[in-house]
Subunit: 283 residues, 4 copies
């Protein structure tokens, strides 16, 4: 029975020894351990993959003893995930299809180990792709007057399907606080620039205007401040004076889809932790 | 006799044909041609390397006919450079040595085809490197009261040695308008961030604070607005949560020296043109 | 009427002048010119985009005069393409779907300016994707005894649909000489290594075995010697000791699809020329 | 008192717990831990940075107890390094200066935490650089008849100065088995290609001939088989048809010096382990 444990707590001497000793005593075999200490904040982070004998492993008992033996004395925030339980993700899209195609083709070929109960869009343009991949598509249009109502519909769907996290695959609406509060550090966005450069609207136009020689894409968790959430993954590609804005956009598409899919895969594998508006990305 | 001609003018039909026809008629062999049209501004740019028979080539006569036949009717701004004439560069430094070492070792091994009559610094820390490479070093200290006087000294030196362009190799003073006006698009700076992200002071600290996954360096021509001049060259390297600010700085040093040296080499080979605060970088 | 002209011929003085003068005289406006001289082979290459007035442009007359005025005296090999005529591409696949998905989603969204009359496969696994995208799918199985017959079937289909070029999107059969001879420098393959390293079968296993820190993908034109044809495009990504062969394969998939699609787009835009088993890739 | 411990041993359950428990019991604070399991070979690797109270830490006693408590029962190969003890490196060069300049300027500015007792060369061309940086230079010429004698001289110098590891900074002689046997996995070479492509002589010429679109550099530990030792670090840069062999060489120089210096820094920080002709590079 494979498990992944994520921990963070105030740094102090002896944590690794205590946790690995506990796992060992419980009959677990540690397959992988990665840890990090944020020296400035004095916080300790760890990710542990362990294998337990399924026949004898008692999940609830393990959790109880972990809490009393470790998490309480060390003031840990922690979570334990069974690798057999796939996280449930909802995809939000608008009109651009490249990120959606990339996610769905990875999902379809088994590369993306998640469940996708549905796709939400404020437009109907990509409904045919949802149909291609046989995934329910919910059209929830937005207008100035309907915004609140639309968000309520979204939230109802998310709750009804027990969605764990949300992927904004070039979703062209600003997500409101009510949704962010329900899914803190669980909404992944792709921004089509090398943040913090060119936050906000039309980053390729701004990059062209500035005459940069490299453009980028950034996936990040959504927070209330626009394009300012914890960065998960970034990548870049070179451009030159010979490229038009249309060329920037075309080159950028290839970045966006790869950078978003990488972030989604890291999240699905529970390789990300968030602290002080930054991420720890485990190897 | 190898020559490089740089041209820009309003775009219109027939320019390439006219210029290449003229070179051909004058007995020149075009070794290389690169051109670019800025569609938004409707401006044409061209760089031509041509070879002429030294025994019969009359530079002044050529320039005169070029002006009357081409540059006047087509409203060209243009320049002609003999490859045998090396541009003269001055290096400005403060206390960091990595860019200086990189430039001087390239110069010393003949890779950088320029003359370096002297190095100017507001500190004495790098004087020994100038001595290592046997290049005159001028210590011109800065203080609040002496700024104007110091700049006058700089300008006197630059003029006396017929300096063509200036390289700020991690020079930690803001260059004032009086110097920029004398050397428009002829002062190359290296900024230790991926501009326009993190302009100004302490970019590595800001990048660390923001939790970016990639850091960069940018070489650009100096204009009056700080870190906002035409970008010549950029490059990036990946970082992670595991890197400290000191790691950012160390990784950044390797970017800075390479990106600055690339920009200097492009300038020396007359492969850069500036228009509307952007560069055209010829191949 | 937009046209693209590709030329190569023995290098000599005056070619650019002659060609651009001719275009100008015929009323064409040169939008873009890129040229290259292979100094070793003394061969000149040029790509020209020109715009002509559709109402007066006589294609056959233009071709005739180009031939007599330019291509014969300069011993040119040349071709002229109307941008309005889309090249017709056939896709060959086996069982891997990532390259196919990438090509078809670009095609579907109008990014790939080609026609795709059909997909050929030696297996049925990807037929459903062809159906998703509404493209005819021909299953032509291979066995030791049927190889020749299968290839005949392929060729019949290719000819019947006037296919211009072929894309091997992770097609796991070796293409025989009879097909290569019909489509010289018109069959694009993606090899899942950084050629010439790890040519042949199982390159990710070989890369893992060697302990490399970077893996790559290479798109190239198919020639009779396996994985030795002219390289169009390459890209790489970093790996470490922590990656398994499965990780190499997963990271490689992202490279393969992007590198193949870039090569196909270059070919479709007539930006590639082949000479001496190497490519010239115009900007 | 900061220490670094490197361990490898057959993989089994409980090692991390045992080692971290031991360090904790001895009063050490673990600052950093990175581990890796080679699943194919079933071998466990770990690197630990720990801090001990200098006033009470007894190095010899610690080593003895570590041996009896851990290394014997777990069949470990292990080493313990005090961070205060700088490794001693010798540099071997021939005529190219870029790698030497890069190493020495890093050393000079305190970035490279090693001691450099001397430089050895089979030529006199770079003696002036050794003098610039005030480092003893030993000219040991090679000829067919003197080879054995020259190597004996090298070895005498290396032993006399208690050299820990050797850096071949574009040293153009093949190192013989007698030297490799004395310094197993302790001789770092820079090869100017993306290994395993273009092993052996003149890799840039071979890369040019093949028409690759990317060139690289590889630093590796020297083994008896030429250019086939464990790879430490690789990097690449793009090239095009427009680049000559001279351009390849110039672009390659920038790769070579950076890739070699990165490898040297990893070795100096004891972040490398070798197993089965591959490296584990700790983060």
């Amino acid at each position: 029975m494979k498990t992944t444990i994520l921990i963070h707590c105030p740094d102090q001497s002896g944590i690794i020894s205590a946790v690995t000793g506990f796992i060992h005593k419980k009959g677990g075999n540690i397959i992988y351990l990665d840890q990090h200490v944020d020296k400035e904040a004095d916080v300790f982070f760890m990710r542990l993959e362990s294998d337990f004998d399924s026949s004898s492993f008692d999940l609830e008992k393990f959790k109880g003893e972990f809490a009393s033996t470790l998490s309480q004395p060390y003031h840990m925030e922690w979570s334990l995930h069974l690798d057999s339980v796939l996280p449930r993700m909802a995809i939000f899209v608008s009109k651009y299809n490249h990120c959606l195609y990339d996610l769905l083709s990875r999902y379809h070929s088994g590369e993306l180990k998640a469940e996708i109960p549905f796709i939400i869009s404020n437009h109907r343009e990509l409904e045919h792709i949802a149909q291609q991949f046989d995934i329910p598509f919910h059209h929830i249009p937005f207008s100035k007057t309907s915004k609140q109502n639309a968000e309520k519909q979204q939230l109802t769907l998310l709750k009804a399907h027990k969605i764990d996290f949300i992927v904004l695959a070039r979703y062209m609406q600003i997500v409101s606080a009510s949704l962010i509060d329900e899914y803190p550090n669980k909404i992944i966005n792709i921004h089509h620039s090398f943040l913090p450069a060119f936050a906000g609207a039309k980053p390729y136009h701004a990059a062209f205007e500035r005459g940069v020689k490299i453009i980028g894409a950034t996936s990040h968790y959504v927070t209330e401040e626009l394009d300012a959430g914890p960065i998960i993954e970034q990548d870049v590609t070179t451009v030159s004076h010979a490229h038009t804005i249309q060329d920037f956009i075309a080159k950028g598409r290839d970045l966006e889809k790869i950078v978003l899919s990488r972030a989604v895969k890291l999240h699905v594998k529970r390789k990300t932790m968030v602290y002080n508006n930054k991420t720890v990305i485990f190897s």
